[in-house]
Amino acid sequence: MNGVAARLTGVGKDYRYFSLDDIHLEIPEGHIVGFIGPNGAGKSTTIRILMGLVHQDRGEVSVLGHRMPAEQVAAKWDIGFASEDMQLYESETLDWHMRFVRSIYEAWDEDYARTLRKRFDLRAEQRIKGMSHGQRTKAMLLLVLARRPRLLLLDEPTTGLDPVARHEVLRELTDVLTEDGRSVLFSSHNTQDVEQISDQITFIDRGRIVESRDKESFLERWRRVRVEVPTGVRLPALAGVIELRQDGRLAVATTNAFAADMPQVYEAMGARVQGVERMTLEEIFVASVQNSREGPGA
């Protein structure tokens, strides 16, 4: 245990209008990594590079001990990949897909597959054509989960799912870790889900990794400090404060490097600290991206 399920070192990929650059990413074994970032940031490309479906222009990729893309076939035996823009064969039924996947992978767990079908409320004889988007997503996840792969690479697995279905998927994903040696990387716009089940959060924006650390310390670094400022005083921005909004005598400082003595620093300036608030991952996400796009205090 405690090896690394996958590692990207200095990976880069160039497209005409977009570049992935200097990507360093690790998926520790036995962990869930939540991969977040705005649209077009490079999440899907990174995941495809991990799968060997896109060949990197620079850098090294190692997944489950296999160098990618050279050894992608060996790696894919143990990887479960599902993507938002991946589809099953419309004319066939879920049952046909289950039998097809089962014929390929020995590790297919038929009992678990049946349990998942019930939990996801899917009918085996239904054609993919007749399924809603949410049902198709669940069908694809079923096919991937029932094989119990060592590494799950999921691109937007909960997008478009109703709350019940999302809850079920989160349950299956957290269950994955009850078995030794299994790991998950999933990208999602649903910051609530990411905040809830991720052990590590990796944040990507415009083709570069902005931050990648364990969730608890990630969330501990971000705070909003509300202060009341004496009349006529404008607060200077402290180091680590990425956004400072002041309206009259009330100011809010957003920081991504919160230190326990920060309130004292403000008090020493004559301000009165009204409160120090934690931020949700969504608020952090928005503040981070806005800061990088517009600069502080926009």
Binding site: R48, M51, L53, V54, H55, Q72, V73, A74, K76, W77, I79, F81, A82, S83, D85, M86, Q87, L88, Y89, E90, S91, E92, F100, S103, I104, M140
Partner: protein, 222 residues
């Protein structure tokens, strides 16, 4: 190369194309029935129908299981399986080619046999030349579809080939030497016909070679 995996993918494509296959067999049977019926009109109709079947079976399966699979994003599903790009390409070519050649052989062999038996043996060289044209077009289409993954380009190639049949046939049959040989009653292999057949076979081989070569150099599989 994992032959078991390639085999499974080939079976999958045969299965997914079962409707096209059945229709081709049915169409071929109808065409042959018409020819057997006797009489010039039925014969011409039958031959034309047979030709149309050869074209369609060379167009619909590749368009469906290569271009559409890509468009419908089922390609990502297949590539998420433990297959390499080469295994995938091999399976696609084998699946499509086997399907095509099966139908082709069935129809062409029957037609040629009927020509020979019915005393039209001198038409056999032209018959073979005509039959190989849709086959060359088929392999060309498979190559373009796999390599470019573009519906647009596939349609262009398909359209160009289809249009060219009538032109080529029209021009060819007007050549005095060709006319003479075909209506002579005896089996004559003129150098022109042989060269054209050689070119058609060349297109087939070149398409296959280019397919595998270009596929092996792809760096973005999806």
């Amino acid at each position: 190369m994992n032959y078991a995996m390639v085999g499974r993918l080939v079976l999958k494509d045969w299965y997914l194309n079962r409707l096209a296959l059945s229709l081709a067999v049915a169409g071929g049977a109808v065409a042959l029935g018409l020819i057997l019926r006797g009489g010039e009109l039925a014969g011409v109709l039958g031959l034309s129908f047979a030709f149309v079947v050869l074209i369609l079976i060379g167009v619909i399966p590749p368009m469906w299981n290569i271009v559409q699979e890509r468009k419908n994003k089922s390609l990502a599903f297949v590539m998420s399986l433990p297959v390499s790009a080469m295994e995938f390409t091999t399976a696609k070519v084998v699946a499509n080619a086997s399907l095509y050649c099966l139908v082709w052989l069935g129809i062409v062999a029957s037609v040629l046999w009927m020509l020979a038996a019915g005393g039209y043996a001198s038409w056999i060289p032209l018959g073979i030349l005509a039959s190989l044209a849709p086959m060359a077009a088929f392999f060309l289409l498979v190559a373009v579809a796999l390599v470019t993954e573009s519906e647009k380009w596939s349609m262009v190639v398909m359209g160009a080939c289809n249009v060219s049949y009538s032109f080529a046939w029209f021009l060819l049959v007007r050549l005095p030497q060709v006319r003479a040989d075909a209506t002579s009653g005896a089996l004559v292999w003129s150098s022109l016909i042989v060269s054209i057949i050689a070119i058609e076979l060349g297109v087939i081989v070149l398409s296959l070679v280019l397919t595998f070569y270009l596929q092996s150099r792809k760096t973005n599989f999806i």
